[in-house]
């Protein structure tokens, strides 16, 4: 199976959020909302992640971290900004240590509004991200054909 679009892995990073959105992102992964039914797995490793979920505004301290995580992710990748702080800076926009939304440092594809963002809208955003991911994967595939053989011929096969 080379179709990775059926199980995109998700990475969550809390930039400078108030935790409200973070616990809602986590709540999405738990039995009641269960985004795992879309084949999504939460991972802590940027190198294996396909969808980058970012919550909270960006400040000077965590901007390099956000950028580094984004750079470590392999193509194709999709960025989802969850919560109004990640979209624009939100209620903290005027604070001295806040640069603004996540799009100040990395390109954001999908914006999920709300303070805190509701699990339903987060799921909506993630499902849209999966669609976009599929599209990007197909684009990449058409440009540089992936040989299936080297995936299957790896360790443990």
């Amino acid at each position: 199976m080379a179709d990775i679009t059926r199980s995109p892995w998700l990475l969550h990073y809390d930039a400078s959020s108030c935790n409200g959105c973070d616990i809602e992102v986590l709540a999405c992964l738990t039995p009641v909302f269960d985004v795992e039914r879309f084949g999504i797995v939460n991972t802590g490793d940027p190198m294996q992640a396909d969808i980058f979920l970012i919550t909270g505004a960006v400040n000077a301290q965590n901007a390099p971290v956000v950028k580094q995580i984004y750079d470590q992710m392999s193509d194709p990748k999709v960025v989802v900004a969850v919560g109004v702080c990640a979209c624009t800076g939100g209620v903290f926009k005027e604070a001295y240590n806040v640069m603004g939304g996540a799009d100040k440092v990395i390109p954001v594809d999908i914006y999920v509004p709300g303070c805190a963002a509701r699990p339903q809208s987060i799921i909506d955003g993630v499902v849209a991200a999966v669609g976009l991911f599929k599209e990007r994967y197909m684009q990449l595939k058409n440009k540089q054909p992936l040989s299936v053989g080297h995936l299957e011929g790896g360790e443990g096969s």
């Binding site: 400040n59 000077a60 301290q61 001295y96 240590n97």
Partner: protein
């Protein structure tokens, strides 16, 4: 269940804190504020048995050197470093001096009004020996033969 603010002089700080320490009170918080051209430092202590709360208030001008109480209450250094970094309050003899790196932020003294920041004169290194945490000195100081 008292909750009062007692204004004291800067010179009497250590004596007052020592009295509370011997009475067995717990350090609750230390905070700084800036009002009408001077600092207001508040040292709050709590007694968990009687639920009393007492705040020692010091009014002092910019650039006065405040003695650290971390010798009495070792947790005080977090609050004192915070005061130093956010307000520019000069605290001497801290048990642990983070050298303005507890808060790793770009802005210097962000809580002080902008026009006042220039008035703050940085004191020469007031840290006591051993106050700078080892992790901040960098790994390069570890002797070479040990790293093999």
């Amino acid at each position: 269940m008292k909750n009062e603010i007692i204004v004291i002089e800067l010179a009497d700080l250590l004596e007052n804190v020592l009295v509370l320490k011997t009475k067995g009170w717990r350090l609750s918080q230390i905070c700084a504020a800036f009002r009408d051209g001077h600092y207001e430092l508040s040292y709050s202590f709590a007694d968990d048995e009687t639920l009393d709360y007492e705040t020692l208030r010091i009014n002092c001008p910019i650039n006065s050197v405040v003695p650290s109480i971390s010798e009495f209450y070792s947790a005080a250094d977090f609050y004192e470093n915070e005061m130093k970094e956010l307000f520019g309050v000069e605290v001497k003899m801290m048990k642990r001096d983070y050298h303005r790196r507890l808060y790793r932020i770009k802005a210097e003294m962000p809580f002080l009004p902008e026009e006042e920041r220039a008035k703050v004169v940085r004191q020469p290194d007031t840290a006591i020996p051993g106050a700078i945490p080892e992790a901040m000195k960098g790994v390069s100081e570890v002797p070479k033969e040990d790293t093999e």
